[in-house]
Every structure is written in C-alpha cells, then in structure tokens.
Symmetry: C2
Subunit: 118 residues, 2 copies
C-alpha cells in the first residue's frame, strides 16, 4: 500500500515549482511532506543522497523530534506534495496505524544507508 | 510519557541475564524489545554505539523492515524486556498512536547520530 492511499480525501495539497528549496538543513520546521507527484532531491551538506518520488516522504525527522532540519530538500521537478504537521500526523496515525509503519520504513531505509556508508 | 506506560498490563516479559546476546548483527529476526529494567549495549561492527536504558527500545529496525539485524544487542546488566512482534506492534500503535511516535523519536535520534558521525 502507498502512503498516498492513506491520506484522507480532504488532504491539503501544495504545488512546488522545479528547483525550489522545500526546506534547508539547519532550518527550524515541523512539517513533513508526502510526495504525490514529481521528484524531490535530499541533500546532506550539499551532496544529493536520495531522490524521493511519488509515495515517498521528506522532512519527517524535524516533525518527529522538533530539531532543526537534518537535510535540505529541493524539488527536482514540479511537485505536488501534501504537508503534514504534528496534529495531522497524530490524526493520520490514529486513523491508519499503517501510516506510521510506512514512515518508519522510510526512516529504517535511511538508517541502513547511513550504516552502510559508515 | 514513557513507552513503558503505554504497554498494556498483560504485556509479555522476558528476563535476560547480564552479558547475553539479545540479537546479533546480520541475524534474521522480527521482534523489537522495550527495555523495562536494566541496560542493553548496542554494537555496530563490534563497537558500542549506544547504551539503552529503561524506557528505551532495541531491535525496531528488523521489526519494521524485515531485513537482517542492523546491530548487535548485548545485556550489560540483568534486564527485564518486553518483546514486541509485528502483530503486537500494529496493535500497540492502533491503541496508542503515541507509541509510534516514541519509536520514531528513537529512530530519529539514531539517524541524527549517524549524520553527525558521517
């Protein structure tokens, strides 16, 4: 199941032009984005470490731990995303526990990638 | 709130003597442990990277993505832990969305530590 299928029909949407900084490493911010269409590059210290496509998420770290952004996200193409703030996040998890599992799988994948590069 | 407070009263418990390998890096396994008492060392490639105490969790990675264990866990002291398999995990998240958030915070902390060491 894709995380997109778990978003309620009244979900807020945001269109992002190509080449826009969605958020920058070190910024404060507590919104996660579910990518509905397009591609978002994730950069660590200026280096692209991941390309997130439809059904992926970016920005979950700062949402979860309220720390500054751990990475930079830049739209590679025109994107359609759904912003998820803390109250919506808890609401989504309450409605669909699977939503939490999908976000955790994203985090697990990133942790394993970091481990491999360690 | 501690994750221990979110465990239901009928939660299974397991006592572990000091110095026991709870799980080893590379093993298959799909059970997470909530530490109720004692301390568990987490080792990456033989090096201790973290000490998990009461209210912490170990083994969430393999539970979430069904991949081999990403690290080794050894009891530093006698421990009391609660094993959480996939069905219990989904049940706990469904009952208490906060449970998911606490596990995600653990993962976020580990990701930021890896980022810092990168």
């Amino acid at each position: 199941m894709s995380i997109i299928d778990l978003l309620p029909s009244e979900t807020p949407l945001k269109s992002i032009p190509p080449g826009e900084v969605v958020f920058a490493q070190g910024d404060s911010g507590n919104v996660m984005y579910v990518v509905i269409e397009g591609e978002v590059s994730v950069l660590l210290d200026g280096k692209v470490v991941e390309t997130v496509r439809a059904g992926g998420v970016v920005g979950e770290m700062a949402l979860i731990d309220s720390q500054p952004r751990s990475a930079t996200a830049i739209s590679r193409t025109r994107c359609l995303v759904s912003p998820v703030d803390a109250p919506r996040f808890m609401d989504l998890i309450g409605r669909e526990p699977e939503f939490a599992l999908i976000v955790m799988r994203v985090m697990a994948k990133r942790l394993r990638r970091m481990d491999a590069e360690h």
